[in-house]
Each structure stands twice: as structure tokens, then as C-alpha cells.
């Protein structure tokens, strides 16, 4: 033990004072010859044990107090071996890189690795020489540095360090080291160091190679896990797909579960919750260091928030995953017949209905006239086929748009009755491209009469198409069934800039679009640029017509919008478009707190209004609502989204030693361990306070006893 003020130790001699006073007091006792000695001795026997104990305690407390005070004033300390890197003792410019990624939130034997890392970072910062300067950078991707410049204001740096909490983001040490290097480039000191407090999970070091470390100052890694390996189980993926075996509304939810452990896991509990309510529970066996899939099959309609959770382990953050799934709306099909005929075979939708009703399809087909469209509850239908409707009414157009934006599927086919201008005016938001002129490719067979000029031009056929689209994947490689179809007339489409939501699935040999798909809101629209009957094409009598129509119906009825259900990574931003009548957007985070967002002013009034949400720091379901111009607030299921944990954060694989930035080129923080001073006067001060309290307590009891006497 050492002392800062050893001369004050002389005060320890005061420790003999209480005993001395006690002895003097005994000598000064008044002698009394007393007759009732027997009574006195009897009374003394009764209280002697308690009195002697109290007297001894008082004497000890007072002696210890008399000794503790001068000892504390002498400021004792002990020199203990420090577990800090040796280099911390040098005067330097340093950047502390603190790993705040998701994996640091797991529970370990000594708390979370994040807490350990932060404590070690704090110890290093406190131990740096007073003239050192330090900055603080976080390792999670996309996070701003709390102290982005070198600072000698140690309390400020420590306060910033204390304010850091572990995030759910993935680690990106490449970016963090680049940032640290950039900060240190402003320093002119010889000693420039980067301290990295991390659990050394390999996933975050993907961007760090020997090449990227060129020019990086000395790196000192402080392992918050102390090299102790950890195991983990995680739900890595969650998605839905149709489950035909359960009927039209069958839905299969598939969870991919990983076991990052050398031991297999048997009967791991897996729970499915739909919209917050537990729906199913099962078990799964996962091989060692392997993966397994758990498939839940159920019947459901509409969109749902699915949450699959496994039995918890030390890292609960990845023990569940959320996804937005949408079941098929059912196989109810609404056909809008724009050119009804009294002769059934001449009816516009004769072939369409026949194909949809073909044996075993399961479709329930309802046919209406165009003026009945606005009266119907369209949400009950999985898909709507609008065939050769001349000009949709405003009400019908609005109903169709709501239907599609809400996730419905619309198939539009044209014909001689279609008024392209009217369509372009009323249904422009739904059309993949504006309709143009009708083009005659060839005369219909048998349509020319004697004496007229015979149109000898060959009819258009379909160009080879990409079978990777789900609608076309059922067709043979060379497109048999569709390739033979002839197209005598079709409608051209006005050119528009490319858009990611629009795809041309089929083209004529001339290059003109034949079947175009676009996404509108959460729904899809397919536009066939020719007729669905035999007026402009013989497609309806070709073998490919039936599968094309049925697949289109299934695709439109059952397929959810890819964009709507796409999950974001933690920290990614989300653009949310506003409908024309919406003023503000509310985003409710998984924790329940919400943010209201106002769209920024638009430089171009014709551009669409959007809000950008950036606070995607928590994995889970983010619900979106909109405040409309009329003051009402409505859910925006089409804009709601899910934020997922990066799968790499679940993998406990440790960064190999040969890839550690502190193990190459002799650049290490090793060396003789420094000693640090362990102050003891706090302890003695606390002991003195305790002794004062004890002495006061004993004296108080003593006086109370006498007052009773």
C-alpha cells in the first residue's frame, strides 16, 4: 500500500485515545460502600453480557474511527496490474471504435458484450494521459460518430460514450476503420491509435482486408467476449407461399431456422403468431451448424403480419422474425363484358369464361356489364377481367383504382369498342402505358369479300418470351401453345420512360407490347393489347389460351406485391408515397411509439409526394397510417413494412486471428502490462462514515436505555 500524504499517518496514533479515555474514566470512578451488593451483582449479571458487548463495540468503533480518518487523509492507494493495453499510457491521438452492432446485445456470463466493451472503452479513455485527445466512432453501419473529431474534453467523450446504446444494426468495421483513419489524419502526433472494442464477430469484418488496412494507424483490439465462443439459434428467413393443398385460400408460411452450434438441436419450439395472436406451434430438429425449415399451413384471406419465434436463447433479438404475408383473395373472378352479344359464341367474354371455368380450375366466375361495375364490392374478387369496355365511368374507374391499390389484380383486354382517349383520361393510373392507335397487322381470315383487295400480310405472332416470370413459367421452353397464335389487330401503346414497376411480358414479333404488367399500390395490372375474343386474334382457340388465362387469374388473385412485402434492413430508409388526398403519414414502430411525417415541398408539382422514414432501428413491423385532407386517419397497409435483422449478426463465427487488424505486421497493443493506481481512500472514507453511524446508533441506544432507567 502506498500513501500520497504519508506524514498524516501519524494521526493513526489517535487510535489509542478511546482506550486511554476509557482507562482514565475507570480510575476516576467514585468509590461507594454499598449494602445491597447482592442486588447489584444480580442486576449486573442480568445486563453484563449485553453491556460488555456494547462497550466493546463502542470501543472498537471509536478506535477504528480514530484510525480510519487519518488513514483516509493520508490517501492510500495500491498499485495493481492493469488489464488495459500497454499503449494506453502513451500520449497519443486515439479513436475509440465501439461495436454497437446487434450481436453485442446477446446475454453473456458477465452481462452483454456491449456492456463489457463499453466498460473497457471507458477504462482506456480514462487511462489515457491527460494530454491525449480522443474521438468516438460506432461500428454499426450507417451510424454517425458521437465524437467525430479529436477532443481533449474527456468528460464530454465519456458522456457521449455513456449515452451510446447497442443497436440492432449490422457491424461494418471497414467503414468504421476508414472513418477513424480519416479522423486521425488531422493529428500531427507520432502516436495515433485506433482502439476497437468488439466481440470480434466475423460478420462485421467482411469489408476489412489487408489492402483496406493499408494506411490505417495502429489498431488495438479489445475483445469483449474474451475469446469465449458462443452458440446461437436464429430465424433467418420468413416468407409465405400459396398452399394449394389447403384450397384457394391456403397459405404456407415458411421459416428458415439456423443452428450455429456444434450440437444438433432437437424439438426446438417454433411458434407462429398472426396479427399478434398465437396461431400455431410446432417443433423442429436442426442439425449441428445447419438449417431447417418449418412450414406452417393455414387458411387465411387478405394481408397479415406473421411473426415466427423460436424458443429463446442468449440472443433473443434473432429468435423471431416478422413478415407481411398476403393470402390469395380467393378464386372469385369478376368478368366485365364490354361487348355482350345475344349469340353466346360471339360474346366478348365467351372464350374467357370458358377458359376460366374449365374443369378443375376452381374459379368462381361472375360476369357483369360495365355499368354494373361501380355498384359491386370489388374487394370480394381475387381478380377482375375487363374485356373490351369502351369507356369506364368515373365511378367504375375510381372503384377499380381503389381495388388495385388495395392489392387486387386487374386484367385489361382491348378491342374495337375501346375508346383509347377515354381510358387514358379516366384510368391512366392503372394503365401500364397509355393506349394508342389500333394497328391492323393482317386481315382476319375470311373477312374479305370478293372483289376487294386481298390483304396478304401475314398475321403477327408472339416473339419468344422470358419464361422466368411466374405467369409464363408453365409454358414449354419454345412457347408451344402460344407461339401458334395469330394476331390480326392490336392496340399500340404510347411510349413512356422505363419504370421498375412495369414489365412487358409478351411482345409481338414487330416488337410492340402484347402483354404488359405494372404494379399499382399493392396490386397488379395486366394489359393485353389485343382482344380476348376472336375479333382481333385467334389466341382464344389456341392451346396456350387456357393456361395463360388461368395462370393470369391465379397470378393476379394470389400474388402479393413484391415491393409491399419487401423487408428493409435495420437502419435502411423507407420512402412512403402519399395519395393525393393524404396530408401526413404516421409510422408506428414495433415498440409502439409513432412518428408523424410531412411530405417535403415538391419542386415539380407533377411529381409524386413522398415522405422518408429513417428511424428503422428496431427489427419488426412498422405500421403506416395516413391523415387525409378531410381529417380522417386511415391505415395504409400497402405502405406498412417490415424491418429485419441482418442475418450475419446471428452468426457467432469469430474473426480468425490471421484476419485481425492487430495481429498483422507486428502492429499490436501488446507489451508490459501497465500498472494502475487503485485509490483506497474512498473505501476508508466509506468505512469511517459507517463507523460514525455505528457509534451514533450504539450511543443512541445507550442513551435511550438510560433515559428509560
Amino acid at each position: 500500500m502506498h500513501f500520497l500524504a504519508p506524514s498524516l499517518l501519524l494521526g493513526v496514533l489517535a487510535a489509542v485515545l478511546p482506550a486511554l479515555i476509557h482507562r482514565i474514566g475507570r480510575r476516576r470512578a467514585r468509590p461507594v460502600r454499598f449494602a445491597a451488593m447482592e442486588l447489584l451483582m444480580r442486576a449486573d449479571r442480568e445486563v453484563a453480557a449485553r453491556r460488555k458487548l456494547r462497550d466493546k463495540l463502542l470501543l472498537i468503533a471509536r478506535t477504528a474511527l480514530a484510525a480510519a480518518l487519518p488513514l483516509a487523509f493520508a490517501q492510500p492507494f495500491a498499485l495493481v496490474r492493469s488489464d488495459l493495453p500497454a499503449v494506453t499510457g502513451r500520449s497519443q491521438s486515439a479513436v475509440m471504435v465501439l461495436d454497437d452492432s446487434a450481436s453485442m446485445r446477446r446475454h453473456g456470463p458477465s452481462g452483454t458484450p456491449f456492456a463489457v466493451a463499453r466498460d473497457r472503452a471507458r477504462a482506456v479513455i480514462e487511462h489515457l494521459s491527460p494530454d491525449s485527445e480522443v474521438a468516438l466512432v460506432l461500428a454499426s453501419e450507417g451510424t454517425a460518430a458521437p465524437i467525430a473529431e479529436l477532443s481533449g474534453d474527456r468528460p464530454r467523450v465519456l458522456a457521449a460514450l455513456d449515452a451510446v446504446t447497442a443497436s440492432a444494426r449490422a457491424a461494418d468495421f471497414g467503414a468504421a476503420l476508414r472513418r477513424a483513419t480519416q479522423i486521425l489524419s488531422s493529428s500531427t502526433r507520432a502516436d495515433r491509435l485506433i482502439y476497437v472494442a468488439t466481440d470480434l464477430q466475423a460478420a462485421g469484418w467482411g469489408g476489412v482486408t489487408a489492402a483496406t488496412l493499408t494506411g490505417v494507424p495502429q489498431v488495438v483490439v479489445m475483445d469483449a467476449s474474451d475469446g469465449v465462443p458462443w452458440t446461437n439459434r436464429a430465424v433467418l428467413d420468413l416468407h409465405a407461399e400459396p398452399a394449394p393443398e389447403e384450397g384457394a385460400q391456403g397459405l404456407a408460411i415458411l421459416a428458415e431456422i439456423a443452428n450455429f452450434s456444434p450440437q444438433p438441436v432437437s424439438r426446438l419450439g417454433v411458434t407462429l403468431a398472426l396479427d399478434g395472436a398465437q396461431t400455431a406451434r410446432g417443433f423442429v430438429d436442426v442439425p449441428a451448424n445447419g438449417r431447417a425449415r418449418k412450414r406452417f399451413v393455414l387458411t387465411a384471406a387478405g394481408g397479415h403480419q406473421a411473426d415466427v419465434a423460436i424458443d429463446h436463447d442468449d440472443f433473443p433479438l434473432d429468435d423471431h422474425r416478422v413478415a407481411l404475408v398476403e393470402a390469395a383473395r380467393g378464386l372469385r373472378i369478376l368478368v366485365v363484358d364490354g361487348d355482350p352479344r345475344t349469340v353466346r359464341t360471339e360474346d366478348e367474354t365467351f372464350f374467357l369464361e370458358a377458359a376460366l371455368r374449365a374443369g378443375g380450375s376452381g374459379f368462381s366466375v361472375t360476369t357483369v356489364l360495365p355499368d354494373q361495375l361501380g355498384e359491386r364490392d370489388l374487394s370480394a374478387y381475387g381478380a377482375i377481367f375487363v374485356a373490351n369496355v369502351s369507356r369506364p365511368t368515373t365511378a367504375a374507374a375510381a372503384a377499380l383504382e381503389r381495388y388495385v391499390r388495395g392489392g387486387g389484380g386487374l386484367f385489361i383486354s382491348v378491342g374495337a369498342k375501346v375508346d383509347a382517349d377515354a381510358w387514358n383520361q379516366t384510368l391512366a393510373p392503372l394503365l401500364p402505358q397509355p393506349l394508342g392507335l389500333a394497328r391492323s397487322a393482317a386481315a382476319l381470315p375470311g373477312s374479305h369479300t370478293d372483289g376487294e383487295t386481298v390483304d396478304l400480310r401475314p398475321a403477327e405472332r408472339l416473339a419468344p418470351f422470358d419464361r422466368r416470370h411466374p405467369l409464363l413459367s408453365a409454358f414449354p421452353a419454345r412457347g408451344e401453345g402460344l407461339a401458334s397464335a395469330r394476331f390480326f389487330e392490336y392496340m399500340l401503346l404510347a411510349p413512356v420512360p422505363d419504370a421498375p414497376a412495369r414489365r412487358t411480358l409478351l411482345r409481338y414479333e414487330s416488337g410492340a407490347p402484347a402483354l404488359v404488367e405494372t404494379q399499382v399500390g399493392r396490386g397488379r395490372v395486366l394489359l393485353l393489347t389485343t382482344s380476348i375474343d376472336r375479333e382481333w386474334t385467334d389466341l382464344p382457340i389456341r392451346p396456350g389460351f387456357l393456361p395463360l388465362v388461368q395462370e393470369a387469374a391465379r397470378y393476379l388473385a394470389g400474388a402479393p406485391s413484391g415491393e409491399a412485402t419487401a423487408a428493409l434492413g435495420v437502419g435502411e430508409r423507407r420512402e412512403i408515397p402519399l395519395e393525393p388526398d393524404e396530408r401526413r403519414i404516421e409510422v408506428i414502430r414495433p415498440s409502439g411509439d409513432s412518428r408523424w411525417l410531412m411530405p417535403a415541398s415538391r419542386p415539380d408539382p407533377r411529381s409524386r409526394r413522398v415522405v422518408v422514414f429513417t428511424e428503422t432501428d428496431e427489427p419488426g413491423f412498422y405500421r403506416v397510417r395516413a391523415a387525409r385532407a378531410d381529417g380522417t386517419i386511415a391505415d395504409r397497409p400497402d405502405a406498412s413494412f417490415v424491418v429485419d435483422l441482418a442475418p450475419g449478426e446471428s452468426d457467432p463465427a469469430r474473426l480468425p486471428d490471421d484476419r485481425r487488424p492487430d495481429r498483422g505486421g507486428g502492429r499490436t497493443g501488446a507489451g508490459p502490462a501497465p500498472q494502475r493506481r487503485l485509490e483506497l481512500w474512498h473505501l476508508l472514507g466509506a468505512a469511517a462514515i459507517g463507523l460514525v453511524l455505528l457509534e451514533s446508533l450504539l450511543t443512541l441506544r445507550f442513551r435511550r436505555g438510560r433515559a428509560r432507567a
Binding site: F34, L40, A709
Partner: protein, 298 residues
């Protein structure tokens, strides 16, 4: 009348034991019209000259007419009551602080009773004892006997250990007829067999009363500084260095238990028990004793 009952310290300042005895007796009877000690009986025995406090209803007016002096009629059970006054003069009786010692106080009471008995014409003897019988004056009725008794009380001093049971045994041997036996002691080191002696005396028809004399210190232990207590009786070398405030509660309990023990023993033996502290006016104690006896007779 409490106003006329002198404080023990005032009593101590009086010049002789005979004066003290008279003052105490007068204090006890001051304002009273009846001697509470005298009883009544049917069978006339003899005359007794009137003394203050005697019942004037019992004045024999015929005798007054004959001899021009006041005489009372006395009855059979009032005549020749032999009394033994037993005074504990052991060392422990010598304790006193701020006032008379227990022995002095007990002497005052003994003297007053001796004086009163002589006034009534009853023979009274005195036995001063410690562990042994130190002095014995047998009961007599001659004129100078009371002076001898008061003189012996004036000269008494505390010494030796105590054995009241032995003193009672001695009296039991010499008391050949029914007698009044009054014991004055602090009973601090009295043996348990004292209870048996008291019972035996009562069984033989003696009228026994016990004056338990204590100093207030032996009831309250009022000391308030570190004190080294030493035993008083010879051969007892016990010492205790203690802050008396630590022991006060337990001491009071022990002291109360001692008094209670002897009170119970007296009740069981049908012996009168009279507690007196050296702070109590002796006249009051005497009056209380006489009234208690009168009540007992009725």
C-alpha cells in the same frame, strides 16, 4: 398529622434518644383523640393512668372522684403485653447517604416503640444483634428500664454480618408467654430460614411484626456517574465498577423482588410487614403501624 411528623434528618439532630422517642410518639399521636394501640375487652383487669391519645370514654370517673387523677379502665387482653424489640445492627445497616443510616433510623423507631410501651406500662425488652446476640435487655416494667433501652440504642453501632433468624430463635427460647416481637432489619442478607422462624413464633401465639428498613438508594439506585461499589459486610470483598445507569432498571426489579419476597413471607406467616425507608418520617411509619394493628384487632 403529617405536618407534625418530623423528617428523619430533623430527628437525628435531636439531642438524645429519649427526646427522639418522645417526639416521634407525639408526632404519631398528634391530633388524635384515641390511642390506637389500646384495645377493649369485657373483663376489667386494672387501672392505667391517662396518657395523651387514650380513649376518654374509658376514663374511670369514679376513680377520678376518689384520687383526683385520671385513670383508665384496663381489660384482660391489654395487660402485661411483653414486647421484644429486635434490632439488626449488622454492618449493612450502617449504610446511609444524605440522612441517617438504616441503623440510626431503625433505632429511632425502636426507641419510639419502647417509649410508647413504657408509657402504656408494658414491659419491653431490647435485643441488638448481628450474626450473634450483641446485647440483650430483658423486658421489665421498672421505672428506669426504658432509659436503659434508650441508652443502649444511643450507643448502638453497625458491625458484623447479620442473622435475624438466630435472633428470633433466641427470643423464642426466652419468651415463655405470649409476647409482641418486633424485628427491625434490612433483610439484605437474611437467610431463607427466617421465614420458618417467623412462622414458628406465630405458631406459639406470639404477635410478630417485621420492620423492613431500607435506604432509598437500595430501591432506586439513583447514582449517575461511574462508580466502584464495595460490599459493606465483613468478609465480603465483592467490588463492582460500573455505570449505575446501566443497572438501574435491573436493580429496581431485583429490589422490588426482594421486598415482595419478604412481604409474601410475612403474609404467609401472618406476620405484620411494615416497609420503611430512611426518607420516611418515623412518626408516619409508627402511626401506620399502630393503625394497621388497630385495624387487625377490629
Amino acid at each position: 398529622m403529617p405536618g407534625l411528623a418530623l423528617d428523619p434528618r430533623d430527628i437525628a439532630r435531636l439531642e438524645s434518644m429519649s427526646v427522639r422517642a418522645r417526639v416521634i410518639v407525639e408526632g404519631a399521636f398528634a391530633g388524635l383523640h384515641q390511642n390506637p394501640h389500646a384495645g377493649s375487652s369485657i373483663e376489667f383487669s386494672e387501672h392505667k393512668e391517662y396518657a395523651p391519645g387514650d380513649d376518654i370514654r374509658r376514663i374511670d370517673w369514679k376513680a377520678v372522684g376518689r384520687v383526683d387523677r385520671y385513670y383508665l379502665k384496663r381489660f384482660e387482653d391489654e395487660t402485661e403485653m411483653r414486647a421484644f424489640l429486635l434490632l439488626d445492627a449488622s454492618a449493612s445497616m450502617g449504610y446511609g447517604r444524605e440522612g441517617p443510616t438504616k441503623l440510626a433510623y431503625a433505632s429511632y423507631l425502636t426507641a419510639a416503640l419502647a417509649y410508647l410501651l413504657a408509657q402504656q406500662g408494658d414491659p419491653a425488652g431490647l435485643l441488638i444483634f448481628d450474626a450473634e446476640t450483641r446485647q440483650m435487655l430483658p423486658p421489665r416494667t421498672r421505672g428506669g428500664h426504658v432509659r436503659d433501652v434508650l441508652g443502649a440504642l444511643d450507643a448502638v453501632y453497625p458491625a458484623g454480618r447479620t442473622d435475624p433468624a438466630r435472633a428470633l430463635s433466641y427470643v423464642a427460647e426466652i419468651a415463655d408467654r405470649r409476647s409482641l416481637i418486633l424485628l427491625f432489619s434490612d433483610l439484605l442478607d437474611a437467610p431463607a430460614e427466617l421465614s420458618d422462624r417467623l412462622r414458628q413464633l406465630r405458631a406459639r401465639g406470639h404477635d410478630v411484626a417485621l420492620f423492613h428498613i431500607l435506604h432509598p438508594d437500595e430501591i432506586e439506585l439513583p447514582f449517575d456517574e461511574l462508580t466502584e461499589f464495595e460490599a459493606m459486610e465483613p468478609g465480603d470483598d465483592r467490588r463492582l465498577l460500573v455505570d449505575p445507569r446501566d443497572l438501574a432498571v435491573s436493580f429496581r426489579k431485583a429490589s422490588a423482588a426482594l421486598r415482595d419476597r419478604w412481604r409474601r413471607a410475612c403474609i404467609e406467616a401472618r406476620v405484620e410487614y411494615q416497609l420503611a425507608t430512611t426518607a420516611d418520617p418515623p412518626a408516619e411509619v409508627l402511626r401506620a403501624f399502630l393503625f394497621a394493628r388497630q385495624r387487625g384487632r377490629k
